[in-house]
C-alpha cells in the first residue's frame, strides 16, 4: 500500500519574455494505491500526470507532503534507505521504440537486471535464464522467438511486452504505466491492457495507469479508481466506471465530451460540455482553477477554491465520488450506442 498526502511540486522554468516562470505542477495531491489495485490518472496535457507518476516511482523530488509505503514514511529515511522501497515501484516507458537498447538482444536486455536480482536474492546464476523465459511467457510472448532477437525485429506490441517483462525482473509491487499503450497500434492495445489486468490478478501487482485515452482505463481490470487531474489538482476521484458513466465535475465532463464519436455505432451524448476557452496555464489562480473555462461558473467559483469532497452543492444530493466543484451535477456526455 502506498499513500501520498498533500504532495506539491513547483517547477522553475526559464521563461521567455516574462522572465522566470513558476509552474505549479502539483498543488497538494492525495492518493492511495492498494495492493493489487488499479489507479488511473487522466487529464489534459501538462496537468501533472507524469510528474506525479515519477514522484511515486521515486524518480522525481517533491516540495512538500508525505509518501508512506507499507506504513513507513519516506520523509524519515535517508536517500539510501529509501531505495529498497522505491525499487518495488517500476516505471514502464511510454515509447516502446526508444525504451529498449537497439544494440542488445532481448536476452541481453533481460539478463543484466536479472543478474542483479539474483545477487540481491542469493539465487544461483542458472536461475537467470530460466527466469527470463518465465517472464517472457508471463507477458505472452514466445521466449524462443524473442530472446535472440533485437528490438527492431519485433512489432510495437511485442516490444512493449518486453519492456513490461524487464520491469518485472525487479519483482515490483507497483507498475507505473505512463501512456503505455498510446504508441501501440489500436489492434494490439487491448492485448497489453489485458496483460496488465492479468498481472494484477495473477501476481497481485498494483497498476498505476496514466493515460490520455480514458476508455482504456476501463480495461485494466475490476475495481479501478480514476483520478481526474486539472492544473495540478485532483478535481474528481472515484470508481472508474462511476466517473465515466456519471461524471459530476464540469472538467471531467469536458474531457469525456471531447472523445470522438464513432459515427454509425454511436451518437454524441445529449449534454456535451465544451470549455469556453483554451487551456492557459498562466491563468490567474484565484477561485476554482477551472472557472475561466467553465460554462457553469458562478461568482462563488471566482472567489473560492472548491476542495475535494462528496458535497452535492446547493440543492443537490451528495455524490458517490469525490469532486472539487461547487455545482456538481451529473450530465450525459459520453457517446451512446445506436442500432447498427
Amino acid at each position: 500500500m502506498i499513500t501520498g498526502t498533500a504532495i506539491t511540486k513547483t517547477f522553475k522554468q526559464r521563461g521567455n519574455v516574462l522572465g522566470k516562470r513558476e509552474v505549479p505542477a502539483l498543488r497538494g495531491v492525495d492518493f492511495a494505491i492498494k495492493k493489487g489495485g488499479a489507479v488511473s490518472f487522466i487529464g489534459e496535457s501538462g496537468c501533472g500526470k507524469t510528474t506525479l507518476g515519477r514522484i511515486i516511482a521515486g524518480l522525481e523530488t517533491y516540495d512538500s507532503g508525505e509518501i508512506v509505503i507499507d506504513d513507513v514514511a519516506m520523509s524519515g529515511l535517508s536517500h539510501r534507505h529509501r531505495q529498497p522501497y522505491f525499487r518495488r515501484i517500476q516505471l514502464i516507458h511510454q515509447d516502446p521504440y526508444s525504451a529498449l537498447n537497439p544494440t542488445r538482444t532481448i536476452h541481453q536486455t533481460l539478463e543484466a537486471p536479472l543478474r542483479l536480482r539474483a545477487r540481491q536474492t542469493g539465487r544461483p546464476r542458472s536461475w537467470v535464464d530460466a527466469r527470463a523465459e518465465e517472464l517472457l511467457s508471463l507477458v505472452g510472448i514466445d521466449p524462443g522467438y524473442v530472446l535472440p532477437r533485437y528490438p527492431h525485429q519485433l512489432s510495437g506490441g511485442m516490444r512493449q511486452r518486453v519492456v513490461i517483462a524487464r520491469a518485472l525482473t525487479m519483482d515490483p509491487e507497483v507498475l507505473v504505466a505512463d501512456e503505455a499503450v498510446s504508441m501501440i497500434d489500436v489492434s494490439l492495445r487491448l492485448g497489453i491492457l489485458g496483460l496488465l489486468r492479468d498481472l494484477r490478478e495473477r501476481l497481485g501487482v498494483s497498476v498505476l495507469f496514466i493515460t490520455h485515452d480514458i476508455a482504456t482505463a476501463r480495461y485494466i481490470g475490476d475495481e479501478g479508481e480514476l483520478y481526474v487531474i486539472y492544473r495540478g489538482q485532483v478535481v474528481e476521484r472515484g470508481s472508474t466506471e462511476t466517473i465515466i458513466a456519471d461524471p459530476v465535475h464540469p472538467y471531467t465532463q469536458s474531457l469525456l465530451s471531447a472523445i470522438p464519436v464513432l459515427h454509425g455505432l454511436e451518437r454524441p451524448g445529449a449534454e456535451q460540455v465544451v470549455p469556453t476557452e483554451a487551456l492557459d496555464e498562466a491563468q490567474a489562480d484565484e477561485g476554482c482553477l477551472f472557472t475561466r473555462r467553465c460554462p457553469f461558473s458562478t461568482a462563488r467559483c471566482e472567489a473560492e477554491r472548491p476542495v475535494l469532497g462528496h458535497d452535492g452543492g446547493e440543492g443537490g444530493e451528495d455524490t458517490e465520488q469525490l469532486h472539487a466543484c461547487f455545482h456538481p451535477r451529473s450530465r450525459s456526455v459520453i457517446p451512446q450506442g445506436v442500432r447498427a
Binding site: S155, G157, G191, Y219, I244, L256, P260, V261, G337, R339
Partner: protein
C-alpha cells in the same frame, strides 16, 4: 462559378510504390485505386507500416529513395497527373495546389528561423504578392486553433510545445489556399480536448473553402469525428472504402471488423472488445500470393491462400475480400 472555386476530384489509379530493401524492391503500396470525392474529407486508417504515409507522399509525387513510384497515376482536377509533373511545375504544385502536413511535422520546422520568417519564405517561394495578407491569414488561422498568432510567429520551434507545432503545421498547409489538403497524423500526441478543437477547425476550414481533404491516422476515433468517407489500409492495399457511418456501422472486411472490435470503448460490456490476433505485417513478411490479411483472418478459405481478392462493390462500398459477399456486421450486444 469559376473553375477554381469548385473542389477538385482526386483519382488515384493502380498506384504501386516500392522500397528498395536488402531483399529487393518490395511494394509498400500495391495497386491502390481510390477516388476522393470533391468536397469531402476522406480518412485513411491502418496499422503502422500499412502504407498510409507512402500513399500521402505519392499525392505530392514526393516519394524519396530508396522508395520509387513504380506504376499508376494520381489525377487531380485542374492539375492532371501529378506523377508526371517535375521540376518547377512540381515545386509550385506542392503547398499552393496541394497543401500538406507530413507525419512528424512537429520536427520538420527550421530550428534556426522564427515561424514568421518561415511563413514569409513560403510565400515568396510561391510568388505571393501580398505578404501582409498572408501573415494576416496565418494569424487568423492560428487564433482559430486557440493560439496567439503574433506570439507564435515570433517564436522559434523550440519555444513551442508539440501540440503547438502540430497546429503550426496545419496553418502552413492551409495558408496558401490549396484546394487539396493532405494531413498525415495531424493530431497524434495531442490530448483529447486539443484534438477535438483541431478536428473541428479542420472540418470548418474544409467546408468554408470547399476543399478535398485526406486525413491519415492510426486512430479510428480521430477520423470518425471528421471524415465523410473512410479508407482502410492493410499491407499496402485499400481493403475497404466507403461512407464512414457505413464502414464503421457495418464493416464488411474482416480486418475492418477486427479493428473496430479492438477499440476500447467508454460504454458497454468490456469483454466484447478484443485484440486482433497476430501482428501487423512488414514489407518482408507480406505473403507474395493470396490475401495479405489471411494469416490473421477468422474467415479465411482455401482460395485466400492463392488468389489475391479483387476489389468489388457492395452497396456503395468497395471491399477486397473473398468472403465479403456474406456480410457479418460486428456483433456487439449493446447495439443490437
Amino acid at each position: 462559378m469559376s473553375r477554381d472555386s469548385a473542389a477538385p476530384e482526386v483519382r488515384i489509379r493502380d498506384l504501386t510504390v516500392v522500397y528498395n530493401t536488402p531483399a529487393g524492391e518490395l511494394p509498400a503500396v500495391s495497386h491502390v485505386s481510390l477516388t476522393l470525392t470533391p468536397g469531402t474529407i476522406t480518412g485513411v486508417v491502418g496499422e503502422s507500416g500499412s502504407g498510409k504515409s507512402t500513399l500521402a507522399l505519392s499525392l505530392l509525387n514526393a516519394v524519396q529513395p530508396p522508395g520509387r513510384i513504380a506504376e499508376g497515376s494520381v489525377e487531380i482536377d485542374g492539375l492532371g497527373d501529378v506523377l508526371r509533373l517535375d521540376g518547377e511545375d512540381l515545386r509550385r504544385t506542392r503547398g499552393r495546389k496541394v497543401g500538406y502536413v507530413f507525419q512528424a511535422a512537429q520536427n520538420s520546422l527550421n530550428p534556426l528561423k522564427t515561424i514568421g520568417k518561415q511563413l514569409l519564405d513560403l510565400g515568396r517561394s510561391h510568388d505571393v504578392e501580398d505578404l501582409r495578407a498572408l501573415v494576416a491569414d496565418a494569424k487568423a488561422l492560428l487564433s482559430r486553433m486557440g493560439l496567439d498568432g503574433a506570439r507564435v510567429l515570433d517564436s522559434h520551434q523550440h519555444e513551442l510545445s508539440g501540440g503547438m507545432r502540430q497546429r503550426v503545421g496545419i496553418m502552413l498547409a492551409l495558408v496558401l489556399n490549396a484546394q487539396v489538403v493532405v494531413l498525415d497524423e495531424p493530431t497524434t500526441a495531442l490530448d483529447m480536448i486539443t484534438q477535438a478543437t483541431i478536428l473541428r477547425i479542420i472540418r470548418e476550414v474544409h467546408e468554408e473553402r470547399a476543399l478535398t481533404t485526406l486525413v491519415i491516422t492510426h486512430d479510428v476515433g480521430a477520423v470518425a469525428e471528421v471524415a465523410d468517407d473512410l479508407a482502410v489500409m492493410y499491407g499496402g492495399r485499400v481493403v475497404e472504402h466507403g461512407p464512414i457511418a457505413e464502414v464503421l456501422g457495418a464493416p464488411r472486411h474482416p480486418y475492418t471488423q477486427g479493428l473496430i472490435r479492438a477499440i476500447p470503448r467508454l460504454s458497454g460490456d468490456i469483454s466484447l472488445a478484443r485484440a486482433l490476433p497476430g501482428r501487423p505485417p512488414t514489407l518482408g513478411t507480406l505473403p507474395a500470393a493470396g490475401c495479405v490479411f489471411r494469416e490473421r483472418c477468422e474467415k479465411r478459405m482455401e482460395i485466400c491462400e492463392t488468389v489475391e481478392p479483387a476489389t468489388a462493390t457492395y452497396d456503395g462500398r468497395s471491399v477486397a475480400c473473398h468472403a465479403a459477399g456474406r456480410p457479418a456486421p460486428v456483433k456487439r450486444r449493446e447495439y443490437a
